[in-house]
């Protein structure tokens, strides 16, 4: 009797553990993994990334190389560990041969490292924009058709110094590799133009209380450069506004993105007039961008204008499908042909031409913008200037650029 009961338990346990592995593969579909932040502080961003990826799939008829696309989603919470775990599940359990993602900076670096252990799988970045995902120690099978955070800042430092007349700027940014990259990109130009950055405040992701950060901001600065994303940006901006802060702001790419501009509350008053730069501009009137916006808006719960996450996932997903079309959906060679096709791929996006450099990082146009109130009361990023075809070294010679060192809290510095 006793034995009987135990054997039942053991049997139940054994079947439970093995049964789900009996999945079947189909020949006429191709699986593409989609890895984004569907939990944690960047949830809103991840969901918009998904909308962008789906827009690309719908635009290309839901097929790649003649095979029907099947999307398998993986979720992370912006921490590198969770991203690798989700990527592992997509690759090792669901058997995807092409993976698009992840979204956040250090996630990208971690997934790049994981990519090295999976040479048969082709990874395309999502919206992750840390410099060292592709610049130092890159992986052969990791492609980034979106640009990095330093590239996104092209033109902003010069504009802030020359046109806005800011000489001293304090920095408030999240404490991880993407904001380091953004600050690097901003300061590269701003310091060169003659500006000074006397104080940098690094705050942890998911921080809720910014009172001590706001209190520590120096009084004698002309502006504050803010590189925070999602819920963090909204929290900082509303608390800054409530504490009576009046210094003008300069925005990081995701600080004045649609994911933040559409949030409710008083943040809008502090935001109007904020200059920023990034891979997209809401008031861009190029026909390709307008067509993209229309297609994007068909997605459920879409923002009035696609955020840069929707844009980045759109571009990378489109690149994946174009690459697959070129090899007729055949990845049976471990994806070698697909990767060769991707390396040579150059195509017109809603934001101009995109091509890859030798580290498989994009060279693309960057948009200098300023926040304005749109005709229907929505906040929008008004296009000021297009900086054409920015490369990863920001136009600086590669050896010289490398000598500037890896981005960090203290690099660069111009006090």
């Amino acid at each position: 009797m006793r034995l009987h009961r135990r054997s039942l338990l053991a049997l139940a346990l054994a079947t439970g553990l093995t049964a789900p592995s009996l999945a079947l593969a189909q020949d006429d579909t191709i699986k593409i993994g989609l890895l984004a932040t569907f939990e944690g502080p960047f949830t809103v961003l991840g969901e918009d990334g998904e909308r962008g990826a789906l827009t690309a799939i719908e635009e290309l008829g839901g097929t790649a190389g003649g095979k029907k696309i099947e999307i398998v989603k993986g979720s992370s919470d912006a921490s590198p560990d969770s991203a690798v775990r989700a990527a592992r599940k997509l690759v090792e359990q669901d058997g995807v041969k092409v993976l698009v993602g992840p979204l956040s900076g250090d996630e990208g670096i971690a997934v790049k490292d994981y990519a090295k252990t999976q040479p048969g799988v082709t990874f395309l970045n999502g919206a992750s924009a840390a410099q060292d995902t592709t610049f130092r120690d890159p992986a052969e099978n990791f492609f980034r058709f979106g640009t990095d955070g330093a590239q996104w800042m092209a033109g902003l430092g010069t504009y802030a110094f020359n046109d806005k007349g800011y000489k001293n700027v304090a920095v408030v940014a999240e404490d991880y590799s993407f904001p380091y990259t953004q600050v690097f990109g901003f300061m590269a130009e701003f310091c060169k133009a003659g500006g000074k950055v006397p104080s940098k405040s690094w705050v942890p992701i998911g921080n809720k209380d910014y009172s001590s950060v706001i209190a520590a901001l120096p009084d004698d600065v002309d502006a504050i450069y803010v590189a925070l994303g999602g819920a963090d940006a909204v929290n900082f901006l509303s608390q800054y506004q409530q504490s009576g802060g009046s210094a003008p702001l300069i925005g990081g790419s995701i600080t004045v993105d649609q994911t933040v501009l559409t949030s409710q509350g008083k943040t809008r008053d502090v935001l109007i007039g904020t200059p920023a730069a990034g891979p997209t501009a809401d008031t861009n009137d190029a026909p390709a961008w307008l067509a993209f916006t229309e297609a994007y808006k068909k997605q459920p719960n879409a923002f009035p204008s696609p955020s840069l996450f929707a844009h980045a996932y759109y571009i990378n997903m489109k690149a994946a499908i174009l690459g697959l079309n070129e090899v007729k959906g055949d990845v049976s060679d471990g994806g070698a042909n697909l990767r060769a096709a991707l390396s040579k791929l150059s195509f017109d996006t809603p934001t101009g031409k995109v091509s890859l450099d030798k580290n498989r990082n994009a060279v693309a146009d960057i948009y200098l913008t300023e926040v304005v109130e749109g005709p229907d009361g929505n906040l929008l990023n008004k296009l000021i200037k297009v900086v054409p075809q920015v490369n990863q070294t920001l136009g600086i010679d590669e050896a010289e650029f490398k000598a500037l060192g890896a981005v960090s809290r203290d690099n660069p510095s111009c006090e």
Partner: protein, 341 residues
């Protein structure tokens, strides 16, 4: 010993003779599991569940036998993990002293156990909800410290490129060896806890849980016993931490964040705190849910589903899966299910 023990406190005279059917069947199932499982199910589900089962087990010792609920178990595992990264090899170009694994692994465990004893030494001054609060405070502080400290912990990105050891011609992170490594360690920890629960120390600890004042009056050193329980629990959490880091190949503040700390508590509660097998059952359920919920309900609401399932389990059976088993037992004992005439 059986899987159905209600009170592990009951000393069983013929313990060794009773290792018997239940454990042998379970062991056989687990040993032959690689024959039927894919690599993914072997490591990402099997190995991962065993590792988190061990962390849950370290909590079960404290909560089940000592009456001290700790939320700092993942922090203790994380201390061992960071020790492996700092004193072993990593490719983040920060520290990485390159000690061989057979020094690093025991050293990391010992460090974790010492840290655990220290945390315990602080926490045993409190009782009940205050122990939970003080350990939660320690876990949160450790998380933020690791996230913002670049000198020791390399901040948010943490350490990359940590490799499991290679010896006897086997790379121990390959799916099958890694699974058996986890299984061996988990079995060892499980057996040790079972043995410990019946030892003089274990019985004393349980008596202290039930009536500390009387035990003190009899002449037992209550604090010392509790702190030693923390030390033992730290050894197991440390061992799990080393395995976890070899499994992930990386460690960062995300490994020890508050969500992970709560996760360990969920595993222990879902499984049941009355018997050492509980945390392992809980870990299997939690890992399966967290891995596959996204396939069932999509990316938007999968955490809601996970939460609901856990709520239902705890609602139906406050003692977790072990408690469910207790409820099923009378039904299974019907005559129709008895073997043979």
């Amino acid at each position: 010993m059986s899987l159905v023990a209600t009170t592990p406190a009951t000393a069983r005279p013929a313990f060794l003779g009773k290792v018997g059917a239940g454990h042998i069947l379970l062991a056989a199932a687990l040993i032959f599991y690689p024959a039927v499982a894919t690599d993914f199910f072997l490591t990402q589900i099997g190995g991962y569940s065993l590792i988190f089962g061990m962390i849950g087990l370290s909590l079960m010792i404290l909560a089940g036998y000592g009456g001290m609920v700790s939320l700092a178990q993942i922090t203790i595992a994380g201390i061992a993990g960071y020790a492996v990264a700092i004193f072993g090899l990593n490719n983040s170009n920060v520290h990485g002293f390159g000690w061989p694994w057979w020094i690093v692994a025991p050293f990391a465990m010992l460090l974790a156990a010492t840290a655990s004893a220290l945390i315990g030494w602080i926490a045993v001054r409190t009782e009940g909800i205050y122990t939970i609060m003080i350990t939660l405070a320690i876990a949160t502080a450790a998380f933020y410290f690791a996230q913002q400290n670049y000198m020791i912990f390399n901040g948010f990105p943490g350490f990359n490129g940590l490799r499991a050891p290679e010896f006897w011609g086997v790379y121990w992170r390959d799916p099958v060896p890694f699974y058996y490594l986890c299984l061996g360690c988990a079995a060892l920890a499980y057996a040790a806890v079972l043995y410990c629960s019946r030892s003089t120390f274990g019985l004393t600890l349980q008596a202290i849980r039930d009536n500390p004042r009387r035990m003190r009056a009899i002449g037992y050193h209550v604090t010392a016993h509790k702190v030693f329980a923390w030390f033992v629990s730290g050894l197991i959490a440390g061992l799990a931490g080393v395995l976890l880091i070899w499994f992930n190949g990386r460690v960062s503040s995300g490994t020890i964040n508050v969500a992970a700390a709560i996760n360990v508590l969920v595993i222990a509660v879902i499984g049941g705190l009355k018997h050492p097998i509980g945390p392992f059952l809980g870990a299997v359920v939690v890992v399966l849910m967290q891995t596959f919920a996204i396939d069932i309900v999509g990316a938007e609401r999968f955490n809601t589903l996970i939460g609901l399932v856990f709520l239902v389990i705890v609602f139906v059976s406050p003692d977790g899966i072990l408690g469910l088993w207790e409820r099923l037992k009378p039904h299974l004992a019907q005559d129709s299910l008895r073997p043979g005439p």
